[in-house]
């Protein structure tokens, strides 16, 4: 296997020689290659006279590829901004790679973007696991991880990772809003929860429990699912067997569909509350059939782009026009596409508002957002962060599905500055 006729002694000789080589190499000290030096780079790489390089890593293949749309959708918005001269005269150069949902590839892509492609910052990592995999790296390297689409409580801990900012509603907030709403309808509800088996799901449950504390309502069953599950039939069966009269679902669209379908098949009629990720009209409800999901509740901060009530909405019209021009392969009715579009708007605003185009200044701006209008937000909801207030979105509008539309129920519920941990 190794060449010809070498003996065991030859092997030991080789190892010794290697050790010598290593010592010799280290002795060479001052290297000409940057690979050796421990000093870090400049404070605002990725910014040239007329362009700023933003990097991203998206899941464009594999089981979570439904989240991959964030890359191309953001790109479409950036191109529309570039066509109008960019941000402060800087064109946005958006470079992104596929990570197939693999945390190691996310880190590889991030390092490539930062160390080779000279990215100013990493934008919009999607999902808790993906976003968590580069937390240490970006914070050690002092590279802004801007507007990560992740709601797990970890992302609200700004002190622990000062260079990371979330763009989403905290899952704990969602849980709290859902909990309060359930209490308002059924003070003694018995709640069964189907959630993802990760930080998002756990944060949601904590928020829910917090809202229910001291009331007559309880969580009687908690079920999780795996991406490799073909159906969630047995989870739903267990929820039903636990005597729940209310079901809360925090899941990806496909699994929320499967859950809703099963509930309908069983002829079971609990009160159903869907988390944001589980409630897309096109992705979650349509496969089950609108007629089979009448009356389910959810809590939104954004408009559902496939909902006919927004057909003439001027903000969404701008969104659709942008996609028609710069993102023709994208589906404007997809809720994630709109979310990405909103995220992109916030990034551009952040760059605009920032006092300077340096990493530190932009990071600071990202921690102090105040944006009353972003295309796609529901009326009454705005984006705000500040010291002690890490979550940009803390107001949700409870909605109910009637006919083929999500109809608002009551006024938006605000947890501004009060997102539980």
């Amino acid at each position: 296997m190794f060449g010809n006729g070498a003996h065991a002694a030859g092997g030991i000789r080789r190892v010794l020689a290697l050790a010598l080589a290593c010592v010799g190499a280290i002795g060479l000290a001052t290297g000409c290659g940057g690979g050796v030096s421990s000093s870090s780079g400049e404070s605002s790489p990725g910014v040239s006279k007329d362009a700023i390089t933003i990097g991203g890593s998206y899941t464009l293949s594999g089981p979570l590829s439904v989240l991959g749309v964030f890359g191309p959708a953001s790109k479409a918005y950036f191109e529309s901004v570039n066509a109008k001269g960019g941000v402060d005269g800087h064109r946005i150069k958006f470079v992104y790679y596929d990570d197939a949902g693999d945390p190691s590839k996310v880190l590889q892509n991030t390092r490539r973007l930062v160390e080779q492609d000279n990215a100013f910052g990493i934008y919009s990592t999607v999902g808790n696991t993906v976003s968590a995999s580069i937390l240490d790296y970006v914070n050690q390297q002092r590279v802004p991880q801007l507007l990560a689409v992740a709601g797990g409580s970890e992302f609200g801990k700004t002190a622990a990772h000062p260079w990371t900012t979330p763009f989403y509603v905290g899952n704990a907030t969602e849980g709290a809003v859902d909990g309060r709403f359930i209490l308002s309808k059924q003070p003694n509800a018995k709640i069964g929860v189907l959630a993802t088996n990760d930080d998002a799901g756990q944060s949601y449950v904590r928020g829910l429990e917090g809202a229910l504390a001291g009331s007559g309502a309880t969580i009687v069953a908690k079920q999780t699912y795996e991406l490799t599950d073909a159906t969630v039939d047995s989870q739903i069966a267990k929820l039903r067997a636990s005597g729940a009269d209310t079901v809360a679902i925090l899941a990806l669209a496909k699994f929320s569909s499967l859950g809703l379908k099963r509930i309908h098949e069983l002829g079971w009629k609990p009160t159903i509350v869907l988390s944001l990720s589980a409630s897309s009209r096109d992705a979650s409800l349509r496969p089950v059939g609108f007629e089979n999901v009448q009356g389910v509740y959810s809590a939104f901060f954004a408009k559902d782009p496939s909902d006919p009530q927004w057909a003439n909405d001027p903000a969404l019209k701008r969104y659709r026009d942008t996609l028609a021009q710069y993102g023709r392969s994208l589906d404007p009715n997809d809720a994630f596409t709109l979310l990405a579009y909103m995220n992109a708007q916030v990034l551009v605003s952040t760059l605009d508002e920032s006092s300077a185009l340096t990493r530190a200044a932009v990071n600071d701006a990202a921690h102090n957002l105040s944006l009353p209008t972003v295309d796609g937000l529901l009326p009454g909801i705005s984006i705000k962060t500040g010291p002690g207030d890490p979550w940009p979105i803390e107001t949700l509008q409870v909605v109910q599905f009637r006919g083929d539309q999500w109809v608002p129920v009551g006024d938006p519920v605000s947890y501004e500055g009060k997102t539980p941990n």
Binding site: S65, T224, E226, L227, K254, S257, G289
Partner: protein, 293 residues
């Protein structure tokens, strides 16, 4: 007791999903004594074609047989173009090629049709029938019926037709089969075509229940392998029975065995596989492995 029977019935409903894909795996194995890692993805791709046909207005009852036919031709084409150049080389080279196919089909489906889940109309009515307090889905019964018919057809093909005999000869000993005048490469092509056709059928049967998206078959594949291990890698009927058993055991274990829970549910078929492989490697209905020394 009714609850228990209901769980068993629910398990059968899942099990037939696994059985459907397992049939395709068995067919490939019978052609090449090899596992095609891409079988699930090819089936998923066929299912997308079915969806496209229904989106263009064709009723599912017509789209389904059409897709089975398209898959037959497609599978034969894949063998001819992609597999044949390497099939005389080692088993591992072919395995690597099938991995490449897996990646290609998975990406292509996402690129062409997007990644949002789609709904495929079912071949069977949505109703249920209640017998003695236990609910049976008509869809499940329909799938079981279809699978049994397919098993019968395959058994008849292999045992009573000359093509079937030629295929069996090619699998058993390719060189000798050639010496007898059997066009071995054509038999292999046919084997791939049949497996792809079965895969397409499986997809059309499965998709209404699990919704169609590029990753639909990922979870099912593991269970389908469990089904073939349990039933015997070369027995179609074994695959169906194996699939049903896997589904039932998985469901019962998830419900009645406390610490398993839904996150470890996938361990159930895995433990089943290990158990079968240790105790009776050939599976329930498989033929014992004969190797020449």
């Amino acid at each position: 007791m009714t609850l228990f029977i209901q769980q068993v019935v629910d398990g059968i409903a899942s099990g037939v999903i696994y059985a459907a894909l397992a049939l395709a795996l068995v067919l490939i194995y019978r052609s090449m004594t090899l596992v095609n890692v891409a079988q699930g993805e090819m089936a998923m791709f066929s299912t997308y074609i079915a969806w496209q046909l229904t989106a263009w207005g064709l009723p599912i009852a017509l789209a389904a047989p059409l897709v089975v036919g398209i898959s037959l031709l497609g599978g034969m084409a894949v063998e001819r173009v992609v597999i044949r150049p390497v099939q005389h080389r080692s088993v591992l080279d072919v395995l690597v090629v099938t991995l490449g196919l897996l990646l290609i089909f998975n990406s292509a489906a996402g690129a062409i049709w997007g990644t949002t889940a789609k709904r495929l109309p079912s071949l069977f009515p949505d109703d249920t029938v209640a017998i003695g307090g236990v609910t049976f889905g008509l869809e499940t019964l329909g799938i079981v019926a279809v699978l049994l018919v397919v098993c019968g057809a395959l058994a008849a093909l292999f045992r009573f037709t000359s093509i079937g005999l030629a295929m069996r000869a090619t699998t058993s000993n390719r060189e000798s089969a050639r010496l007898c005048g059997i066009p071995a490469h054509r038999m292999l092509m046919l084997g791939w075509g049949l497996a792809a056709a079965l895969g397409g059928l499986a997809g059309v049967l499965i998709a209404p229940r699990v919704f169609l998206d590029p990753n639909m078959m990922l979870g099912v594949l593991v269970y389908a392998f469990a089904a073939t291990a349990l039933g015997g890698f070369d027995s179609p009927l074994g695959a169906v029975i194996g699939g049903v058993i896997v589904g039932v055991v998985e469901n019962l274990a998830g419900v009645y065995v406390g610490f398993i829970g839904t996150d470890l549910k996938v361990l159930v078929p895995l433990i089943l596989i290990v158990g079968v492989l240790l105790v009776r490697p050939r599976g329930l209905l498989g033929s014992p492995r004969v190797a020449r020394v």
